[in-house]
C-alpha cells in the first residue's frame, strides 16, 4: 500500500524557504500569491497503514516544529500523470 506523507512547518514557525519562494514570485510576474510554505513529501509502501501515524511521529517529522498529513493511502497506488 502506497502512502504519501506531506510534512510542512508548523504554523507560526519561521519558514525561510517559504518566504524565499514568496518573495521570488512577484519578480517573475506571479502576483497575488500569499502564504507560501515549503515542506517535503515522503512516499512509502507500507503493509499496515495503521502504523503510519507512529512512523510519522517517531521518525518522519519532528512534532515540535512540523505538522504532517497522510494524503493518500489508497490501493492501488495512483501513478503520476506521465509527461
Amino acid at each position: 500500500m502506497r502512502a504519501r506523507v506531506l510534512v510542512k512547518p508548523k504554523a507560526g514557525i519561521l519558514d525561510p524557504q517559504g518566504q524565499a519562494v514568496q518573495r521570488a514570485l512577484p519578480a517573475l510576474g506571479f502576483t497575488g500569491v500569499t502564504d507560501v510554505h515549503v515542506g517535503r513529501m515522503i512516499e512509502l509502501d507500507v503493509q499496515d497503514p495503521a502504523r503510519l501515524p507512529e512512523i510519522c511521529e517517531r521518525l518522519l517529522t519532528n512534532p515540535l516544529i512540523e505538522d504532517y498529513e497522510i494524503v493518500s493511502a489508497d490501493p492501488p497506488a495512483p501513478t503520476t500523470a506521465s509527461a
Binding site: 514557525i13 519561521l14 525561510p16 524557504q17 521518525l59 519532528n62 515540535l64 516544529i65
Partner: protein, 225 residues
C-alpha cells in the same frame, strides 16, 4: 577523567573534539554501532553530518545503537555535551528541549562569534568567567534554535539557557539569540558554536577551553564525592 567522543559515519569534527578533550583529560572515540560507552566519564556528541542528515539534521542518528547508551548515561546523571550536529541529535533524541531549524538566510554560515555566558551555574560553564564573552566559531546550516513560547519561558525561568550570541552576533536567526541550552537536570548541554575549535592559539582563540575545563572540574567533584 576520560571523555568518549561518538563517531557516526558522517561525523566531521570528532577528531577535533577528541583533541580538545585531550587538552584536559583522556579521550577516546566511540563507534555509533556499538552499544558500549566503555566506562567514560563524559560523552561528547560531535559536529558533522551524522548519517548525512538527509531527513532532518540528527533525525537518524538519534536511533543509533550508541545513543541508547547515551540516553541511559544521561538519565543516570552522566555529563553529555552536544556540539553543532551533536546538539541537533540530542534535541531530536529528546535529551534537550527545543529544535534546530535551517538558518534564517538558508545558507551555511562559518563565522567567529562572540558569546555571552548567561549562566555559569552548570557543569559545562562553571569555569567561565562571568561577564567575559567567549570568542568561538560557528559553522552550520541548521542552527536556528526554536522552542515554542511556553517551553521558551520555562527554559529561561529554570536558567537553562547557558549561552547566547552577543548582540549583533546571532548568525542564524535563533530565538532570543540562544546559542546553547541544557536540560532541566543540567547534565546535558548542547550548543551550536564549536568550542573544540577554540582551544589552540595557533588555530584561533582559546575561549572554548573553558567548556572542557568545566566538564573536567565537574567530573572531578563527582569522583571526589
Amino acid at each position: 577523567m576520560k571523555f568518549g567522543v561518538i563517531r557516526f559515519p558522517g561525523s566531521c569534527d570528532e577528531v577535533d573534539a577528541q583533541l580538545a578533550c585531550q587538552r584536559v583529560g583522556e579521550a577516546e572515540i566511540l563507534w555509533h554501532a556499538d552499544r558500549d560507552l566503555r566506562g567514560v566519564d563524559a560523552v561528547v556528541v560531535p559536529g558533522g553530518f551524522s548519517y548525512g542528515d538527509y531527513l532532518r539534521a540528527g533525525a537518524i542518528a538519534r536511533f543509533a545503537p550508541v545513543m541508547v547508551e547515551v540516553a541511559e548515561f544521561a538519565r543516570a546523571g552522566g555529563l553529555v555535551l552536544g556540539i553543532c550536529n551533536g546538539f541537533q541529535v540530542l534535541c531530536e533524541a529528546g535529551l534537550l528541549p527545543g529544535a534546530l531549524l535551517d538558518n534564517a538566510n538558508l545558507r551555511f554560515v562559518f563565522r567567529q562569534v562572540s558569546l555571552v555566558v548567561v549562566s555559569s551555574d552548570s557543569p559545562f560553564t562553571r569555569a567561565c568567567e562571568p561577564d567575559r564573552p567567549l570568542s568561538i566559531p560557528v559553522k552550520h546550516m541548521t542552527g536556528c534554535y526554536y522552542a515554542p513560547p511556553e517551553l521558551l519561558r520555562g527554559l529561561q525561568e529554570r536558567d537553562q539557557v547557558l549561552l547566547r550570541y552577543a548582540p549583533g552576533h546571532n548568525p542564524n536567526g535563533s530565538l532570543r539569540d540562544i546559542a546553547g541550552v541544557c536540560n532541566a537536570a543540567r547534565n546535558v548541554f548542547g550548543l551550536m558554536p564549536h568550542p573544540e575549535h577554540a582551544v589552540d592559539p595557533l588555530t584561533g582563540s582559546i575561549d572554548g577551553l573553558a567548556i572542557f575545563q568545566s566538564i573536567r572540574a565537574a567530573v572531578a567533584d563527582r569522583l571526589a564525592v
